[in-house]
């Protein structure tokens, strides 16, 4: 937490270059020595619609979006539909300005493109400006861009204007543009950047407002990357060289990053006919001895239920990633939610024999992507990395050294031909791939093409050599062995420290959360303690096998617990109760499912009104579910 922070929001329509412009600006802020965190909001549309990206920059680490923001660069939507009376979408053209006003802090700055936006279309605009002490700087960004021949460069002009108004020199921005842009468009872009910068300084007094760029310094080199980048790089560093998939938002990001990088690493990416084929191909490639993955978002993951079960039954190592978005059905494709938790834990017939990890931060996304592969291959089990549109798309600066780790392409207990010769076989030479007794339940495997390793893999229950077998004793022995792996994995995970503790160790109250809400909860806990409350939090990553002992100890150590999650039915709270068998009277829920991730203040307010005051909740964006018996 820090007093001086810049929260810069760039708004426009899809297709206006918001994503690339904001990414470069975030990097420039990072290079200047600041910690940065980005938050994206966009519709499921190719062109137009209300889109923004927010960059939060401060001298100290930032782990979440902020509460509101203090600098708006409203570009205007170049692809807005013509406003028609009675149409549900209303006047889209003005939305980059009008839709963003509610969250702008007092004293905030507004730069808007007067070439496209006319504030007189917004009711009470001037009154609101005055009441909130906003500082408004109309600029003809489109006009400036046109002078250089390309209207799409409005965003570059906007960045130049921003720099002038927050007291940031153009050096880092210019460096980044030089790195990213081909010569032909670089020159006019640099020209427009500087023109906008200088004309703002000439025309306006930047000292009239209080929003300035913070100054900071990094002790070591930083990199700016998204959760999707981190997951992909984790997979690559674990020797994953095969991916199969089908496009679906927001999982497509991981699929795209892997597909772009695998060929130069001698790997294979397959875009296939559907998600059933995608997951089945990952299973097939892994069966043949390659470290493989697939993934999707909720609807596509539903199709993967069959191959997921096949991987469980045949004990084929495979990693699947599931990028959640708001459901059910098509839901809200570009909006985050955590409501696929139960789907991922239980989909596919029979008793679940899988691992599910939900990383809480971008650093954890890298680490747990690696962990998912390690566990999948060491224990011959499908491992699922569960994240969401929020974690996948947000960007954060991370020390580059975080990734300076040894690669690991180990296939786990996979035998060489020499080792296979020493193993038990049937009298006619079939390898006992599925022995009843095995350390940690893991029976060593062979790979097709090896001498002395042939066996049958089957989705039917099977005996030691893989042949279909419905004998009750064999059935019990095989399922017990497969479940024994989960107990061994629980021990393995206990050593990995995958749960995250936040706040003071001794505290009166607790907050429990899972996955991507962790960074926001962290900030809320800091605010609450600074305000005199005594609260700590636990961010849980292991969804299956569940860390019963850790969560129980946490709940026992406090008087009451608030469970924070982005579901409507309290799935995570239910999971805690299911695994621990009690605490219904001690856990209450703070839920959000309107398509936007929590802001820290919503958790702070929720905690104060629910836990401390016991008064329930007065909020239009979040929902309170009391503990049992209340």
């Amino acid at each position: 937490m820090t007093d001086n922070e810049l929260i810069w929001r760039i708004s426009g329509g899809s297709g206006d270059g918001i994503a690339s412009t904001s990414q470069n600006f975030a990097k420039a802020l990072m290079r200047s020595g600041l910690h940065v965190f980005t938050h994206r909001h966009y519709p499921s549309r190719i062109r137009g619609g209300h889109t923004y990206t927010e960059i939060r920059a401060a001298a100290d680490p930032v782990t979440s979006r902020g509460d509101g923001y203090n600098f708006l660069l409203a570009l205007g939507d170049s692809f807005a539909r013509n406003p028609q009376e009675e149409a549900v979408y209303g006047n889209e053209e003005i939305k980059p300005l009008s839709e963003n006003l509610d969250e702008l802090r007092e004293g905030g700055v507004i730069v808007y493109d007067e070439g496209l936006l006319d504030p007189s279309d917004i009711p009470d605009f001037d009154e609101r400006v005055e009441a909130n002490d906003w500082h408004v700087y109309p600029l003809d960004l489109r006009g400036l861009a046109r002078e250089q021949g390309r209207e799409v460069m409005r965003n570059t002009a906007g960045v130049g204007a921003t720099c002038a108004l927050i007291g940031m020199d153009l050096g880092h921005v210019e460096d980044l543009m030089s790195d990213a842009m081909p010569e032909k468009i670089l020159e006019p872009n640099l020209e427009i950047l500087e023109t906008a910068y200088e004309s703002v300084l000439e025309e306006y007094d930047a000292d009239a407002h209080d929003v300035t760029v913070p100054t900071g310094e990094h002790e070591e080199q930083q990199v700016l990357l998204s959760g999707s980048d981190a997951i992909s790089y984790g997979a690559i560093d674990e020797g994953c060289r095969f991916i199969a998939g089908y496009p679906m938002t927001p999982w497509t990001e991981v699929f795209t990053i892997m597909t772009n990088n695998l060929p130069e690493l001698g790997g294979i990416s397959e875009q296939v006919e559907d998600e059933i084929a995608a997951a089945a191909m990952a299973v097939g490639a892994s069966h043949a001895g390659v470290k493989a993955m697939s993934g999707s978002s909720g609807g596509g993951f539903a199709l993967m239920s069959e191959p997921l079960g096949l991987a469980e039954m045949t004990e084929t190592p495979v990693v699947l990633v599931e990028a959640m978005r708001a459901g059910p059905s098509t839901g809200m494709p570009t909006k985050p939610e955590q409501s696929d938790l139960e789907h991922v834990l239980y989909t596919s017939q029979g008793d679940s024999q899988r691992v599910v990890l939900a990383p809480g931060t971008i650093e954890e996304a890298y680490e747990q992507s690696r962990l998912a592969f390690e566990i999948a291959y060491e224990y011959q089990i499908p491992a699922i990395l569960l994240y969401d549109q929020k974690l996948g798309g947000e960007m954060l600066n991370v020390p580059k050294s975080h990734f300076d780790r040894e690669p690991n392409a180990d296939l786990g207990k996979t035998l060489s031909e020499a080792q296979l010769a020493e193993q038990p076989h049937t009298p006619d030479g079939k390898f006992h791939r599925f022995q009843h007794e095995a350390d940690d339940g893991v029976s060593p495997r062979s790979v097709p093409g090896q001498k002395g390793g042939r066996y049958l893999a089957t989705g039917n229950e099977h005996g030691p050599s893989g042949h279909i077998n419905e004998d009750p004793d064999n059935r019990t022995a095989q399922i017990d062995r497969r479940l024994e792996k989960l107990a061994a994995i629980r021990e393995r995970l206990d050593g990995a420290g995958t749960q995250t503790y936040m706040g003071p160790e001794e505290a009166e109250y607790g907050i429990l959360t899972f996955g991507s809400q962790q960074g926001t909860v962290r900030e809320a806990v800091e605010v609450l303690n600074a305000d005199g409350h005594s609260v700590k939090a636990l961010g849980v990553s292991d969804m299956l096998p569940f860390p019963n002992a850790e969560v129980e100890a946490f709940i026992e150590s406090v008087d009451a617990v608030l469970v924070v999650e982005m579901t409507a039915s309290g799935q995570f709270r239910g999971l805690v109760q299911k695994n621990l068998g009690r605490y219904g009277e001690k856990l209450s829920s703070l839920l959000k499912y309107n398509g936007n991730p929590f802001e820290p203040a919503e958790i702070v307010d929720g905690f104060e009104s629910i836990v401390v005051e016991g008064s329930g909740l007065d909020s239009s964006t979040t929902t309170f579910v009391p503990a049992a018996g209340d």
């Binding site: 001698g266 097939g284 392409a409 006619d428 093409g449």
Partner: protein, 312 residues
Amino acid sequence: MSAFSAIGEEREIDRDEYTPGVEPQPTWCPGCGDFGVLKALKQALPEVGRTPEETLLCTGIGCSGKLNSYLDSYGFHTIHGRSLPVARAAKLANPGLEVIAAGGDGDGYGIGGNHFTHTARENHDMTYIVFNNEIFGLTKGQTSPTSPKGHKSKTQPHGSAKEPVKPLSLSLNAGASYVARTAAVNPNQAKDILVEAMEHDGFAHVDFLTQCPTWNKDARQYVPYIDVNGSDDYEFDVTDRVEAAEMMRTTEQALYDGEVLTGRFYVDEERPSYQQEKQAIGEMPEEPLAERYWDDDYEWERSYDRFLDKHA
């Protein structure tokens, strides 16, 4: 040295090697056409010189799915309709393997129809055997995708209102580069066609007529059969798509009129396999990917060295 020494091994192969000691006797009904596929495959594999441990036989679900319980090799008995994606991925991971997929007509032309059309379209280098008995056997005689229009069963009590799938035409249009039909009642032709299919560099689809005496027709109803490649009554060029298409339509209709036509219908030896196409654009390594995991000298790339600088 290869970690997979069974691959490419040159030696005499005995047919009996493919008979598993665990389960030498299939549980198929007496007179079932599936025995014909098993026998033809056991003859064809030694002829193409592929040993049990360099062969991966992926099957679907149904009576036909039991094939790899009765044929000793590496086997993957997958799930209903999904043998093809499992099989083609294994082939991409280790192209040295002889990869064969097999399943019934419901498995391949019904529930797995999407995978069938796309695997054919992509022309993966593998053999796909469809046990076509025009019925669902293991679930006790329901109407299947190749059952004729009007077929009555417990699930179609008034007779099916649907035209049957035309498997050969479907295959050709989807992009298969080798399309044949053979029959369990014709073991010599069946063996020859399986040999050709395995030797073909691309997706070889064999529609294998397997009588189901319990729920549908018995062997006598597939006799006499006519080999269209050896008959004077049928003149067409198997390398010509248009002529092949015409011949396929005739054959598909003839089956329901009581005339069993078999043989090779389309053969394209020119079209590169999917693996070749993918290697040509730099999307697949020349060395089998599966070997790399056994190469102690291989220096595995790190994201830290390769990709992080662009994030700085």
